[in-house]
Each structure stands twice: as C-alpha cells, then as structure tokens.
C-alpha cells in the first residue's frame, strides 16, 4: 500500500477469476469471427480451421460462465439474474446475451454443420454410439441434396447473425467495465471496441495454435497457405488492436484529467511487468515484428519469407506470445482498475491466493477445462476433413483425436 486508500478498498473485489471471464469470452468471440471468415467472407485458405474454430468457440463458451459463478458470494442465487434481472444493469444482460449466443448461434451452427456427418456416423457405428449420434441428429436424418442445401444456407445465415452476436457478446463484456464512471481506468467509450479487437486477436492466435498442434498430434501436414493466411489476419488484427489501444492511451495523456497522476504511477510501478513488458513488448511488439517480417501480410503477391519450417516455428512463437499478451490486457484492465484508490491518492496491491475459491489453482483448472471439453468435442464431432470411403467402417472417430 502506498499513499491513501479508502478503508473499504483494502480488499480487491475482482480477482483472477474475473480476469479469466473476459479472456475466455474473448477467445470465443475471436474463434467464431475467424470461422465466419470462411463461411461468410469466403476466405478459402482458412477453410481447414473452420470446424476446429467452431468447436473451440463452443468449448470455451461452455466454460465462460464458470469463473463468474465461482466468484459469486452466493452462486446458488445466480438464477435470479434470469428471473428478476434489473433492466438498467449491464451485468443483468449477461444471461440473455450468453443464452442467445450459445443456443441460437453456436449450437445451431454446429448442428447444421455436422448434421450430415452425424447421420452417417449413426449409420456406421454400433451400440451406444449409434444411439448417441442418432439422438444428436434430433431425428432429422434427411440427407437429400435439397436438405443439405438447406443445411448450408442455414449455416450461412446463422453465421451472418453470429458475427454481430459475437461482437455483442464481447463488446458487452467491454461495456461492463467501460461504463463504470467511478473508475477512470475503466471508464472509456473505447473499452468495448478495444475488447472486441483484442478478442479477435486472441481467437485467431488460439485457433492457429490449436490447428498447428492438432496437426502435429495427428501427424498430418500443416496446410501452409492456411497458416500463412491466419498469420496475415493475426498481423492485421494486432495492428488494429494496438492502434485502438494507442488512441486510448494518447487520449488519456492529452486530456490529462485529475486521475492521470495516480494512473501514471500505477503503470510505472504496479503494472510495469504486466503492461509494459508482457502486454506491450512481448505480447504486441515482438509478434508484430515477427509476423510482419515472416508472414505474407506486408509482402507483395502474398508470398511469405523463409522456409515453411521456420515460418511454422515463428507463427507458433508469435501466437503463444499473443495469448500471453491478451491475457495481460485482461489482467491489466480488471486488476489494474482496482490497484489505485478512487480517492486518487494511493495504490494498493493484489495478493492472489494459491488455493481457495478464487485462487491460482482454480484459475488454472478453469483455463485448462475448455481444452478438455474441446478434446471431448473433437472426439465426438471430428472436425477434420473426411477421407473419402477408403477409411472404411469404424472411421467415425479418427485416431488423430487420441
């Protein structure tokens, strides 16, 4: 503690779990927007990641409410947010935005996308698995040309609805912070937009990572035009994101409101590692340089520089750094917003528990959980391209998923 803080500010109210919440929903929104690139904007290169991106979004979305629930003082009353929402409250909308996104966008899109495969797997497999797939088709087993065309149309339209929904999902999370006028670190009209673009950055990086890692595990060749394209989009997204962050930063400095002194002190001391080192240098500048140099983003004729082997390594490193950087952004927003006193006269510290309801152990578990769910989803609904007939019966779940 340094300077004066209000006595009630001694305890930080939102800790690691609330850092995870925007991080995880950001990954959902980002992965979905990446998936929409292929579906709506016809970016054919990223097609190998389309289904993986959808399942990734679903896996992370299923986990998204858990950190919130774990953080509540009375999780058993959480249903009140659905039954008696305060319509003036930004947070009250969470349940509805979430339910809309899960039920109307992701589940429907996944269902339409996989329906034909589920019908086939139901026919090819036996026993419980057969019944499971049959149940998942919801009885819609028509795979005629006309029905499949309907699936495709429906999927396309859901994606078109899904893009603004993904913007809503994560822009809304930004609004929860940006609309708190009591907190000068949060209160910014740019907050939802910054959240959104950082979400896109994190989602692209995550799918890039997952695609490369799963290809490695499955011993399949990595589709270089695909990862080159992903790296290019990642580069552009980072450029937009960093420009917005810079605008916010310059605007604050230029306006130089009464909070500027304490915020500057906070950035120089409490947030030096997480903001300057992790977010800015390692999470933004290094990936920008790496991707700018190696990816085709800045090169004429979309040709990439360096051997494929080297590029893969560079993309891997850049994507990992980007994930660390975006996590730091969430940390700096959520925790940073509570490290200075609203009296603007002092700084406090965040002491994270190791165990306990909001401790490091729970946080790590919650961050690992979506990967396990994704593993299960991939086993259930293999996203990979189907090898025509040659694999024969029983190839419903490819070995690559194990």
């Amino acid at each position: 503690m340094q300077g004066y803080i209000y006595p009630n500010e001694f305890e930080l109210q939102w800790g690691l779990l609330i850092v995870l919440y925007p991080y995880v929903t950001g990954l959902v929104a980002g992965a979905f927007i990446l998936a929409s690139l292929e579906r709506v904007f016809n970016v054919k290169e990223v097609q190998p990641t389309y289904r993986l991106a959808l399942l990734t979004a679903l896996a992370f979305l299923l986990v998204a409410p858990l950190p919130l629930l774990g953080h509540l003082g009375h999780p058993e009353r959480s249903y009140e947010i659905f039954l008696t929402p305060n319509r003036q409250s930004a947070m009250a909308m969470f349940g509805f935005v979430y339910a809309w996104y899960l039920a109307v966008v992701l589940l429907l899109e996944v269902w339409f996308e996989w329906r034909r495969d589920m019908v086939r797997w139901a026919e090819e497999s036996h026993g419980a698995k057969r019944w499971l797939y049959r149940a998942l088709t919801l009885g819609a087993t028509d795979v005629s040309e006309r029905a499949l065309r309907f699936d495709d149309h429906a999927g396309r339209w859901i994606t078109i609805i899904g893009i603004p929904s993904a913007f809503l999902l994560h822009g809304y999370v930004g609004f929860i912070f940006g609309s708190v006028k009591a907190n000068p670190w949060w209160s910014s009209v740019l907050m939802p937009v910054v959240f959104l673009f950082s979400a896109i950055v994190s989602g692209i990086a995550l799918v890039l990572l997952l695609y490369m890692i799963t290809s490695l595990i499955r011993s399949k060749p990595i589709d270089m035009p695909c990862v080159d394209k992903l790296a290019t989009f990642l580069f552009y997204a980072i450029v937009v994101d960093v420009s917005l962050e810079a605008l916010d930063f310059i605007h604050r400095l230029y306006e130089s409101e009464e909070s500027i002194d304490i915020l500057a002190r906070m950035v120089e001391s409490r947030l030096f590692i997480s903001l300057i080192v992790l977010q800015l240098v390692l999470g933004t500048l290094v990936p920008l340089l790496l991707l700018g140099f190696f990816s085709p983003a800045l090169r004429r004729g979309s040709s990439a520089r360096g051997a494929a082997e080297l590029r893969r390594l560079v993309y891997l490193v850049a994507a990992v750094l980007v994930e660390i950087g975006i996590f730091s952004i969430r940390w700096n927003v959520v925790v940073g917003g509570q490290l200075f006193s609203k009296s603007l006269r002092g700084l406090t510290v965040y002491k994270m528990e190791l165990l306990g309801q909001e401790g490091l152990a729970i946080g790590v578990a919650l961050l690992a959980l979506p990967f396990f769910i994704l593993w299960g989803l991939v086993a259930l609904l293999p996203p990979w391209e189907h090898v025509p007939a040659a694999t024969g019966p029983g190839a419903g779940v490819p070995a690559g998923t194990s």
Partner: protein, 274 residues
C-alpha cells in the same frame, strides 16, 4: 470445396424432407409462445420483493412517502474522535477489523508546499495520533465519510438482480437475502462506501440506520457525535435541522462531476477532499 471433400452419402428414404423444416417451425413457434411467460416471470418476483419491504414499514405505522432523508456534515465541527465509527459498528454489526466500514473519518493535512497527506487509521475509530510535525502545516481537518445515498446511485443501476435499491424515502439499501455477491456495486460506487461482508458473502453499506429512522430515531453516528458535526434530517422539508443546516451554510457534495447527486451535504468542504 467442403462439399466436394465429403464422402458421398446414401440418402435415407425413411425421412421425408419436410421433417426438419417442420421441426424448426415447431421449435420457433414454441419459443415465441414461451416469451410472454418468461417476461411475466421476469417482472413478478421483483414487484413482490419491493412490496415486502413496504409492507413491513407500513405495519409499523410508518409512511415512507412523506420523507426524503439526507445528512449534513459540518467539517469545521468534527474533532476526529471516532465515536461515530464505533457507534456505527456496534449498531449495525459491522466487522471490527480495519477494512470494513459504513462510515469512517479521514484526516487531511495540507502543508505550506501544497503537499496533502490523508490518513484514516482503523477508519478513525480510535481517534488520530498527534501530528508528528506541526511545522509547515497550512491547515488540517477531519472529514467523516459515509454512503451518500445518491439520488442517482450508480450502485443501484448496476446491480444485476435489483438486490440494492432506493427506498421511497430516499435511502439506498441492500437486500441481503437477495444479493448474489457479484460486487459490481462495490466497483460502481465512486466513494468507496460499499464493502463485501466476509461471512454473509453479500454487499454491505450504510443503511442510514433505516431500522432506527423509521421509528423516528436518528442514525447511531448522529446520536454518538459529541460536537453535532452530523445533522440528520429531511432534505426537502423546511423545518428540520438538516434544512436549517443547508440554509445557513454553503454546502457541497463529493465528486459532483459524476452526477450521482449525493444526499450527504458538506459544509466547509475543502477542494482537496475526494
């Protein structure tokens, strides 16, 4: 591209093509039918919750509509003894540690070079130590703080379930049987007036001793103040101590630029106080 890569599938003659479309139609119709039911659910319990509070007050023969409570604080009268803080903790069952307070006192020391030091050891409950150095002090004063019971309360606005609300007589309260403990209200309060109850696991704050004022008593802090630095009363009526205080003093509120419209009014408020 995707379609070409897929294995050709045998068409199943069993299911007619209308099946799925029919399913979607029925599902959509069901959603449409369920909406009014859901909206009804959304409104009803909230109405009954507020009704319960009003009923309890009415049972005691108290009519909240005739009142609009607020507080006046005369900074020049506060001696920083901390009796108000102790009285509040005893009256309202506030944890006795040094980081949970409904009300607290800050001491400001402004030096001739303009440097400002603020402190509030144990919320001022045990009084303040003598100044180590009186040289170079331009002015010093005590400022009692508490919930401002804002007309335009950000905490009430953000509560996702409506567990924190403004009573009809203008007091901001928390329904502790209803609060889910998300702590958004604590973040939204610009004054640091809210805290999280460590055992009840709900948001807590100054109630203006609502249980006392509906019986015609004054809040515990006002009762305990030996110098009359705290003035409790009606904001809008003319013949009350608070109305007198506001008539004969230049009063200000804290952080007026945030447009929260506090109902705690300060006399002799220094510009350094935030």
């Amino acid at each position: 591209m995707r379609d070409e890569d897929r294995a050709p599938l045998p068409t199943t003659p069993a299911a007619p093509p209308v099946d799925r479309r029919r399913f979607v139609q029925v599902a959509l119709a069901a959603c449409g039918a369920a909406t009014p039911v859901l909206v009804g659910l959304v409104r009803l319990p909230r109405a009954s919750a507020q009704g319960a509070a009003a009923e309890a007050a009415a049972a005691e023969g108290y009519d909240p509509t005739g009142h609009r409570y607020g507080m006046g604080i005369d900074i020049s009268r506060c001696i920083g003894c901390g009796r108000c803080v102790a009285a509040c903790k005893a009256e309202n069952d506030v944890p006795l540690d040094d980081h949970h307070f409904n009300t607290w006192i800050e001491r400001y020391v402004i030096r001739t070079d303009g440097a400002v030091t603020v402190e509030s050891p144990n919320g001022g409950m045990d009084g303040f130590p003598a100044l180590a150095e009186e040289e170079g002090v331009r002015r010093t004063f005590f400022v009692p703080k508490l919930c401002n019971h804002c007309e335009n309360p950000p905490c009430v606005q953000v509560c996702p379930v409506g567990a924190t609300f403004t009573t009809r007589d203008g007091v901001v309260l928390v329904d502790e049987k209803y609060c889910i403990g998300c702590r958004y209200c604590i973040q939204a309060c610009p004054y640091g007036a809210r805290w999280f109850h460590p055992t009840k696991r709900v948001a807590a704050k100054c109630t203006l001793c609502y249980h006392r004022i509906v019986k015609g008593l004054v809040p515990a802090c006002v009762e305990a103040c030996p110098t009359g630095a705290r003035i409790f009363g009606e904001v809008e009526q003319r013949a009350t101590p608070l109305a007198r205080f506001m008539r004969f003093n230049d009063v200000q509120v804290l952080k007026p630029h945030l447009n929260t419209k506090p109902k705690v009014h300060y006399a002799s408020l220094d510009g350094e106080v935030r």
